[in-house]
Structures are given as structure tokens and as C-alpha cells.
């Protein structure tokens, strides 16, 4: 494996971060800074903000996040399998069919339970 190819990637991440920092700094240097209480209040279409914005939110967002982890892990498992699929042949196909099939059963369960409903 050629690790030297990863150096430019790391550098690119650095350059992109620096670009963001520079743009923000340029903006705060060039822009005026005249804050007042009204300007710094959270925007609520002209209303006075009446409670903290970090409120309770719908539990379905949590459900989505948990389901996402399950499926994203599945993809992470499938990636190496797909890479060596041709060497594995029929055995690999059946194995992955079983694995994905079982996950799909779980998916059907989630669907029937109504976890995917948004009304």
C-alpha cells in the first residue's frame, strides 16, 4: 500500500480548514462590528423569543439516527465484500444474500412497526 498518496489528502484537509478560517477572519476584519441587543437576539420573525430554542424534539429523529447506524454499518460491511466479490464467487454471493436478507427482515419489522411513518 502506498501511504505517500495520503499526504496530499491530509494537506488538502488543512488547506480547506485554513481557507475557512481565513474567509471568516477577513469577514470579521472588513465587516463593521456594531452589535446591539435587538440585532443579537435570536431571529423569530419579529417576535420576542419566548423560550430556549434547545427544546424537546420529536423522538423520530432519534429513531432515524439509530436506524441509520444499523444500515450504515451494513454498508461498511458490504464494501470489503464487494471488493473481493469476484474471488469469492457463488459462496460470497449466497453468504451476503443471507446477511442482507436477515437485515432486510429487520427492515420489514421496523416498517411494520411504523418507525418509518411521518405524518
Amino acid at each position: 500500500m502506498d501511504l505517500s498518496q495520503y499526504l496530499p489528502v491530509l494537506m488538502f484537509l488543512g488547506v480547506a480548514t485554513i481557507l475557512g478560517v481565513v474567509l471568516l477572519s477577513v469577514g470579521s476584519i472588513l465587516g463593521p462590528g456594531r452589535p446591539d441587543a435587538e440585532k443579537l437576539a435570536p431571529y423569530e420573525c419579529g417576535f420576542e423569543a419566548f423560550e430556549d430554542a434547545r427544546m424537546k424534539f420529536d423522538v423520530r429523529y432519534y429513531l432515524m439516527a439509530i436506524l441509520f447506524i444499523v444500515f450504515d454499518l451494513e454498508i461498511a460491511f458490504i464494501f470489503p465484500w464487494a471488493l473481493v466479490f469476484r474471488d469469492l464467487g457463488l459462496f460470497g454471493l449466497i453468504e451476503m444474500g443471507l446477511f442482507v436478507g436477515m437485515l432486510f427482515l429487520g427492515f420489514i419489522y421496523v416498517w411494520k412497526k411504523g418507525a418509518l411513518e411521518w405524518e
Binding site: L40, L83, V100
Partner: protein
């Protein structure tokens, strides 16, 4: 000719700095990164101009015409944004508030490190390129959710929640589409994925034909991933004003803007590379003079087409309702993707994807 020119510069540069090889190598990499980053920022600027022009024409308007016949409009916008005050709300978490736009921008640009433009031109030739891209496009959601949370504003918070759930949902179908490409190409390296689409039948060698459902799902998921119309409920001007970046002004806002457009262009390039043969000519192997030659111009033409689709969608479709978006993502795309990945596996087992077949 261009290659010779670059080789000359390369030779002169390393001749000059030959005594400090590490420094010379770092500097050369930095130069390569800048040669990609600067045109990328410029293309984002021109893309915003093109967006307003195209949507203008579709709505029988002219679009921007005044500043430099309209062509200088994006630059005027940039300077206006830079000279505006960056407002940091009193209730907000000031450092997270500043960190969020940087966190959105950095992965959107860094993902370009592995994009190849032809057989030799690219910044890094990673053997895990596709995995890196999946990771980088996933990181963008942190910027959004952090922006929404740090703003401590109800609109921003709602926008961030919606956006996070939506991006995360469509990422699954996007990842499954990548698995399909992976099975077909047998490699994570983007150059090798393009190489696997070579053949003598012109455009019919491309992965878009055997993987047609995955191709369509990939691009639609890409539109949803970048929070673009018709899936732009994260911004949803008509209900939550501007969503997660409602509290951002000036240069901080421009970072989100830059990230979103860089991501759109990235998705366009990826769709061209993964499914439409990248820089391969649509007439490859047919022996037509000029038209059969492969080259970066084909990649750019294809990417331009996909970038245009983003704008076309925006001008054409009304915004989806949130429950419809989630239903499309979970109940249509994911089962369809899993099914077609399995079909791709069977096709690969049956020998459909032997190079040149």
C-alpha cells in the same frame, strides 16, 4: 502539450529546490492543491451566476444583466458578503457558532483530493478513494447540525434536525449505490472504476446501463444530500426562513454557500465518473476521428450536464413535504437499492462486468 509544460515546470521547480527534497515535495503538493482549489472557488462563483441565469430563462426573465453584463455579479456578491457584519447572536455558543461553517466547508473541499480528471491528473491516487469520498460527504452533516445547535434559535434548530435526518437517510441509499459500482468495477480506486468502463461499444460500456436504477437513485440522493430543491426542507424559506443558517450573516454565511455549491459540483463529477465513464468518450472504440478520443473535456461536459440538472430540478419541481421525502428515502430507495445490489452481484457472478465485454 500541457503534460510537457507541466513536466517542464516540475523539472525546473525540483531543480531549484533539489537540496530540500521534503520541502520541495510539500510545496509541490501545496501547488497542486491550489491549482485545484482556486478554479473550484471560481467555478462555484460562475455556477451561482449560471443558476440565476438558467432559472431566469426558465421563468421568462433575464437573470443578472447589470454588473459586467451579469458576468461579474457573483464577484460583486462575494465582496458584498465580505464587507457585511458577522453577527454572533447573544444566545449562541460563540465558538461552536464559528466552527460550524468551517466544518461544513473543509470536507466539501477536501473530498476533491481524490477526484481524477484524466488518466494522470489528480491530487492523490488513493486505493480507497471511494471510501474516502463516502467519509467526506458524510462529514458535511456535522457542520449543519452544529450550526443549528450553536445558533440557539428555533428556526435554525428545526432546520438542522430536518437536515440531519434527511441527509442521513439518503446517505444509506447513496452508499448502497456505491456498493453497486464497487461490485461492477471491483475496485475502490476512482481511476480504476473509470478504467473498468472502457470498451469498444462507446457509451454502452458505461455502468449507467447495467446499474440504471442505482444511477438514478444516486443522483436523486445526491440532490437530497446537498439539501437542494425539491428536497430543500432544511432551508424551506416559506416555513422556517432559512433553516440551519438563519442566524449566519456575511462571510460566515458565504462559507455555507461555498460548501453547498462545491458539494453540488462534486456530486455532478462523481455521477459522471462512477456511472458515465468519466473522461471516456461516448464514442470510445468506434474509431470516429476526434469524437472517439478520450479526454478531460468529456468529463467536464458530463459534469456540466449534471450540474445543470440541479438547476433544472430547482426551477421545475415544487418542494416535497417532509414525510414524502422520508418515505421516498426509506420505503422506495433503500429496498430498491438492496434489490439492485443483489442483481448486480448476480450479474457480476454471471460475468457481465468482464473488462471490455
Amino acid at each position: 502539450m500541457i503534460t510537457e509544460f507541466v513536466n517542464q515546470i516540475h523539472g525546473a521547480y525540483f531543480g531549484f529546490l533539489g537540496e530540500w527534497p521534503t520541502l520541495a515535495m510539500l510545496g509541490w503538493n501545496l501547488l497542486k492543491i491550489l491549482v485545484l482549489t482556486v478554479p473550484l472557488i471560481l467555478s462555484v462563483a460562475m455556477f451561482t451566476y449560471w443558476e440565476r441565469k438558467v432559472i431566469g430563462w426558465m421563468q421568462v426573465r433575464l437573470g443578472p444583466v447589470y454588473i459586467g453584463k451579469g458576468l461579474l455579479q457573483p464577484f460583486a456578491d462575494v465582496f458584498k458578503l465580505l464587507f457585511k457584519e458577522i453577527i454572533i447572536p447573544a444566545e449562541a455558543n460563540p465558538w461552536l457558532f464559528r466552527l460550524a461553517p468551517i466544518l461544513a466547508l473543509a470536507p466539501a473541499f477536501a473530498a476533491w483530493a481524490v477526484i481524477p480528471f484524466d488518466w494522470q491528473t489528480r491530487i492523490a491516487n488513493l486505493n480507497a478513494g471511494l471510501l474516502y469520498l463516502l467519509a467526506m460527504t458524510s462529514l458535511g452533516v456535522y457542520g449543519i447540525i452544529l450550526a443549528g445547535w450553536a445558533s440557539n434559535s428555533k428556526y435554525a434548530f428545526l432546520g438542522a434536525m430536518r437536515s440531519a435526518a434527511q441527509v442521513v437517510s439518503y446517505e444509506i441509499s447513496m452508499g448502497l449505490c456505491l456498493v453497486g459500482v464497487l461490485i461492477a468495477a471491483g475496485s475502490l480506486n476512482l481511476t480504476e472504476i473509470v478504467a473498468a468502463q472502457q470498451g469498444n461499444l462507446g457509451m454502452f460500456e458505461w455502468f449507467m446501463w447495467p446499474l440504471l436504477p442505482l444511477f438514478v437513485i444516486y443522483f436523486i440522493s445526491g440532490v437530497a444530500e446537498t439539501n437542494r430543491a425539491p428536497f430543500d426542507v432544511a432551508e424551506g424559506e416559506s416555513e422556517i426562513v432559512a433553516g440551519f443558517h438563519v442566524e449566519y450573516a456575511g462571510a460566515a454565511f458565504s462559507l455555507f454557500f461555498l460548501a453547498e455549491y462545491a458539494n453540488m459540483i462534486l456530486i455532478s463529477f462523481l455521477a459522471a465518473l462512477l456511472f458515465m465513464g468519466g473522461w471516456l468518450s461516448p464514442f470510445q472504440g468506434l474509431g470516429i476521428p476526434l469524437l472517439s478520443a478520450d479526454g478531460w473535456w468529456w468529463l467536464f461536459a458530463k459534469a456540466f450536464f449534471f450540474a445543470f440538472l440541479f438547476l433544472w430540478f430547482r426551477a421545475t419541481f415544487p418542494r416535497y413535504r417532509y414525510d414524502q421525502i422520508m418515505r421516498l428515502g426509506w420505503k422506495v430507495f433503500i429496498p430498491l437499492c438492496i434489490f439492485w445490489v443483489f442483481v448486480t452481484g448476480v450479474m457480476a457472478y454471471a460475468g457481465t462486468f468482464v473488462a471490455g465485454a
